[in-house]
Amino acid sequence: MRSISLRILASVTALAVMGSLSAMAEELPELVINEDIEMVTRTKAPAHLENLDEIRSGWTFRTKETQAFQMDDFDNPGMIFVDQALDTWETVDGAAGKSCASCHEGPESMAGMRASMPKWNDDAGAVWTMEMYINDCRENRMQADAWGWKSQPMLNMNALISLQSRGMPVDVKIDGPAQSTWEKGKEMYYTRYGQLELSCANCHEQNYDNYIRADHLSQGQINGFPVYRLKQANLITSHNRFRGCIRDTRAETFSEGSPEFIALELYVSSRGNGLSVEAPSVRN
């Protein structure tokens, strides 16, 4: 209630500043999935974010058509891959004769995991991503082969596990032992890579909501990952996007699963603390 009146107040102030009394306050679209799950797509920026007041999900920057794909699971192409992962969840693999279900019962036991990813792993002494936790289970508990970072079963399982946190606020820890990794990710975010000398911040902090040619720049939030990307007709991870973005600065990019991208994932995730987990979201 309070936030609504604040929003109205903000709109009134904006109108007064513009001196345009005839302009109507634009009604912002809201993301409700399956007419049931209400998602936070705009909220106050977390305290550590110095340069933004409000954080916005990538969903708010997309066209109505793209937005609609995510509003019903029957329309969301990412859900096909989630279904595939459900089969895998039940399937025994590896020398230990176990499936995911053998230890974890239903996938709903994974609720909350995506919301905290990536996070510090005390035993490993490092920040771990979802992929690393999945492969740890496969290799050590199931005695099965690790999945490739970009392999389809890995993408699918990542989406299934992430879906269990859908609607929960992103809540990534940035202090304690994770802090030095977070700092490294932050430094990367503001580094101007490549011959075009562009940082993440140039486009996604200083110019979100602006267009570069036909591209509508978002804040580069990753609360919707893994994302079903229409352009690629598949699920993709945040590291896949990071690799493409840095490549597009005419730089030597980093690879998926590299320590650099794990640090960047931690930092960029933390910029979305407070937005809803949307996986699998749909983007263009």
Binding site: N202, N207, N210, Y211, I212, R250, E252
Partner: protein
Amino acid sequence: MRYGKLRAGATALAAAGLGAAFFGSALAAELAPQQVVYDEGKVSESLSGVPGDVEAGRKVMITRGQGNCIACHEVTALKEVPFHGEVGPTLDGAGERWSEAELRGIVANSKMTFEDSMMPSFYKVSGYIRPGNAFTGKAAKTAELPPLLTAQQIEDVVAYLLTLKE
């Protein structure tokens, strides 16, 4: 190939010193990116020694893989070409706001005029973080990269920008 020859020419000129000035005019001396002198951002000397061509400059402005200036800047005179960006200021009236030397300096290396500009430096070959081999994502093959635009393309863009009057 052409670039290599010109570079060799430039070296020979430097070696011969002042006496080579005659040669210079015959070669229409091109300034290599490292030779460009910025005076508070301004570059008064032509980079190619050949006057810019307005129509060629227009093409560099709108073509992806060349200047693609409209990716970030709106230009009313180019409105028949779709999708102008909003990242940089409009270039309408640029030919009145800026002198030729100022425009040349901004196009060649805008950071000499605007310290924190997001605009890429179009006539620069080194000083990059993790320089890549174009858009492959792989490491650059040479210590110095080919500049994003040639000396003549920059002269052409400057000639075009000078036509933008309000």
